[in-house]
């Protein structure tokens, strides 16, 4: 049994690491990548002045947003108006509580028993993530309603209708993954993919899951709620300065979480390749510090690919029309997800 003080320190270390990496590094770098890629796609430079390659642009923007005048437009419902950005950030912060970012490890012999690289080892793992992402509807709905602006209310209604519709499809896709691995513990789901990644039996589920996470994070091609041309950025029209910045931050950190979930569920987490494990090439990811670091970086690289995919898709695909969007969610993805569960169940029983 380990010393309790060390375990507490380890827990705090994981929290500080995760929190600062996601909020302090991934989100700002993603914003920078987003703008650079936009520049690349549109044959212009993008931000390249602040720091090397413009890397410090997000930092400069953050300082600017804090220093801006805290405007509260007349006619807003003030307490709710101030509450909404906070309600948007909290689920974003909570959502990475159960994400494991590496294999169980002894950190090169620091611990006697392997410790999980995960903030909270909840029995309900995956369902906790589903719960927290479903709570992010409130920030959006409340922001729109509190702004008391026609564009905002429309944007909020559209956003929440869209988020909940696609949450359903994502949920049913997740059910089929639970069937395949027999657990909702993300660590066990990754372990069950040591031989075969779930993307192969669960290809249909992935086809449903990918658009669903794009729609849940309100990203192009499903960014109807923010459609600048029609709704002047929708639910956060009336938000400026750091209050807008908080919505932005939560959007990017939820993007990170769902990318990590996609990797954990379908692409084997930190497993090397389908059919090839770390042990096969002589790397001990459990007991050696270097091995653990390699596994964590491999996982991070997979997540980074998914994050890049988000950006790539945004600057490639046009926006859907609203009826097409709801049609896709309810008439295409939902039946496919139901059908997929039946197929996988039938295959497991009869084959």
């Amino acid at each position: 049994m380990e010393d309790t003080t060390i375990l507490w320190l380890f827990l705090l270390g994981k929290i500080v690491l995760f929190f600062s990496v996601v909020f302090g590094a991934v989100a700002p770098i993603m914003i920078w990548v987003e703008r650079r890629v936009a520049g690349l796609v549109q044959d212009r430079y993008g931000p390249n002045r602040v720091g090397p390659f413009g890397l410090l642009q997000s930092l400069a923007d953050g300082i600017k947003l804090i220093l801006k005048e805290p405007l509260i437009p007349q006619g807003v419902r003030k307490p709710y108006y101030l509450l909404a950005p906070i309600l948007a950030v909290v689920p974003a912060a909570l959502s990475f509580a159960v994400i494991p970012f590496g294999p169980p490890t002894t950190l090169g012999g620091m611990f006697e028993t392997p410790q999980r690289l995960q903030i909270a080892n909840l029995n309900v793992g995956l369902i906790f993530v589903m719960t927290v992402t479903s709570l992010s509807v409130y920030g959006v709905a409340l922001a729109g309603w509190a702004s008391n602006n026609k564009f905002s209310v429309m944007g909020a209604l559209r956003a929440s209708a869209q988020m909940i519709s696609y949450e359903l499809a994502a949920g049913l896709a997740i059910v089929s993954i639970i069937m395949l691995s027999g657990s909702v513990d993300l660590m066990r789901i990754v372990e069950s993919q040591a031989g075969l990644w779930h993307i192969f039996p669960g290809f249909l589920a992935f086809l449903v899951f990918l658009p669903a996470i794009y729609a849940e994070t309100n990203r192009t091609p499903f960014d109807l709620p923010e459609a600048e041309a029609e709704l002047v950025v929708g639910y956060h029209t009336e938000y400026s300065g750091i209050k807008f910045g908080l919505f932005f931050l939560s959007e990017y950190s939820i993007m990170t979480t769902v990318s990590a979930i996609a990797v954990l569920l379908f692409f084997g987490g930190w497993n090397l390749l389908p059919g090839l494990n770390w042990a096969d090439i002589g790397i001990d990811i459990q007991n050696s510090m270097i091995g653990t670091l390699i596994a964590v970086s491999w996982f991070a690289a997979k997540v980074a690919f998914f994050l890049f995919l988000f950006v790539w898709v945004r600057w490639t695909l046009p926006r859907f029309r609203y009826d097409q969007l709801m049609g896709l969610g309810w008439k295409t993805l939902l039946p496919i997800a139901i059908f997929n569960i039946l197929i996988i169940a039938g295959f497991m029983v009869f084959a």
Partner: protein
Amino acid sequence: MQIFDYSGVLILLILGVLTGVGAILASEILGSRRYYPRKDSPYECGIPSEGADNTRFSVKFYLVAVSFILFDIETIFLVPWAIEFQNYLQSGEGIFIFFIGGLFLFVLTLGLIYEWRKGLLDWNQ
């Protein structure tokens, strides 16, 4: 070990709230202030706001929300089923568990077909 795991969640919750409140407070303290009334008007593309502010919206949105919660609960019901699935497979009662889940999914599909036929899923009128 339960206390460890949930205190991790609690600390994250507190950190999240602190980030939100702290950022807004910092902006209140550090932000510059140059006030004039135009700044505070609601933004509707520069023209003064027109029309009643309590516009009402299509009941379609309500139907989406209802379908969501009903299907969401069905999803939650499917999770225990999915977890038990492999246990039943191994004990040779795969047909039983398949039948249970299949019937449930059939009822769920009936609901979806009903909505579809009734036109609740059409948004392009």
